[in-house]
Amino acid sequence: MEEGRAERRRRTEAPSHTQGGPRRAGVMTDVHRRFLQLLMTHGVLEEGDVRRLQNHCYRVHDRSAAVEELEDFINNINSVLESLYIEIKKGATEDDGRPVYALVNLATTSVSKMASDFAENELDLFRKALELIIDSETGFASSTNILNLVDQLKGKKMRKKEAEQVLQKFVQNKWLIEKEGEFTLHSRAILEMEQYIRETYPDAVKICNICHSLLIQGQSCETCGIRMHLPCVAKYFQSNSEPRCPHCNDYWPHEIPEVFDPEKEREAGTSRATKRSLRSRQH
């Protein structure tokens, strides 16, 4: 308890990394509670799904009320969760810039250390994978490199086969993304671990030149070495025929991706996989 209080004091003294300004504690109704429980089940959701979830919660509990603006709705919930050091953070996926919302834990307390989702050696594996991802040039760590570190894990000895399964568990729980045998951080992990990464790896951490937040995957200028997120590149060089590096003004060598457009997404797929997964959950 003492340790928790000391850490809480430290947290409040440090510059706040919670989004949004200081807010007065809001009021939570059953609509908010249901929304929070559903978000807790999923962990991380894209903005479209979040809006649908919000509408669903209103329909279940309070058909007559007007659906509150999503941002205010979430700020309301966050103000109540502030004292528990939990927050719904908004971020974007690094590969195509979709806005996502994730429920993250903000503080290390004596209670949070007792989390039993993953065993000690599994958490250590995650930490090692995180380190490799941050150190890598592309933001991806190959599974062989991660598995080679299995001998150095703290806690119970883990076999390579088990380690592969643990990595798959991380992918299923949306902490890591796997692409062609390489692993990188899911946006959920980036939102939750950003502070931790900045504090623990201050020299190895990469920052996006445009949005100044943590960068795992992105494009970098070959001459001056600055980096930018793919969606940040898309927005910055939008409708610019001759993209030039903002720092050294050299010709930008990489392909400029498209800006994410939610309208186009909605047209593209009416029966997306995410819709099905929402319905199959117990509401």
Partner: protein, 269 residues
């Protein structure tokens, strides 16, 4: 009383080489006992016979005839002083305890009656799968779809009984110890990691004293050492697995090599 004993002793003295009138008192005691013991043995045998004859009765009816038999044996046992009778007593006890066990088993059945086969039938009916009697044997030959629909139905019903909200899942804050501060690292080339990890596991193996498969370990170590030397000499060429393990002159050596190399592969060096 004494006359009778003397007569008895006289009867016995034919077997013994004593021709004297004076009789050993312990022998007198023994003779009287002999009669008693014979009686006890007869009674035991009768008891055992009775119990065996009425076995069904004793087990199935709600009577305390078994208790009565046990009490009788208890009384008889008071007179027992020699092993022959004690052996009969033991035999009777074994019989009685067997009967007691059967009685107890019957009792349990009546109290909690769970018929597994009937339950399974009801379960299938609940899920909506109609079974013909003959199909009971072919459980294994079924589609995944039927299996999935079975579990879906069970889940729908069960989840309404188990109302439990999801807990909050997070990773930040669950690390028990702070990571050690890293020394400033230069940009590392991500080459094949075999060489770097080679030293540490070899050291660990040497410290492993409780390992009693010493020859296997030594061989694996030796082969690991060979691989490492090869890689030090030719850093970027991969080794052909077949060239490495096959011994053209000896099949058994080849098998051994494959065995040792499999350890290295399993541990990921």
């Amino acid at each position: 009383m004494k006359v009778g004993v003397a007569l008895g002793a006289g009867g016995c003295s034919d077997d013994l080489s004593y021709g004297e009138a004076s009789i050993d008192p312990s022998l007198l005691g023994l003779a009287g006992d002999e009669e008693k013991c014979r009686k006890i043995r007869k009674k035991y045998r009768q008891l055992i016979y009775n119990v065996q004859q009425n076995r069904d009765d004793l087990v199935n009816t709600v009577s305390d005839s078994l208790t009565l038999a046990l009490e009788e044996a208890d009384v008889l046992f008071d007179g027992v002083s020699r092993t022959r009778e004690a052996a009969l007593d033991a035999q009777f006890l074994v019989l009685a305890s067997d009967l007691g066990k059967e009685k107890a088993k019957q009792l349990n059945c009546d109290m909690s009656f769970f018929n597994q086969v009937a339950f399974c039938d009801f379960l299938f009916i609940f899920v909506g799968l109609n079974w013909m009697e003959e199909e009971h044997e072919e459980l294994s030959g079924f589609d995944d779809n039927i299996v999935l629909s079975f579990w879906d139905t069970v889940q729908k019903e069960a989840s309404s009984w188990i109302l439990q909200a999801e807990t909050f899942h997070f990773i930040f804050g669950s690390f028990k110890s702070k990571p050690a501060p890293r020394p400033r690292l230069e940009h590392l080339k991500k080459a094949l990691k075999m060489e770097e990890n080679g030293d540490m596991p070899a050291k660990l193996r040497k410290l492993d004293l409780s390992n009693n498969q010493e020859t296997t370990e030594k061989e694996v170590e030796r082969i690991l050492g060979l691989l490492q030397t090869y890689f030090q000499k030719y850093p970027d060429t991969p080794v052909s697995y077949f060239e490495f393990v096959i011994d053209p002159n000896s099949f058994s050596r080849t098998v051994e090599n494959i065995f040792y190399v499999s350890f290295i592969i399993r541990d990921g060096f």
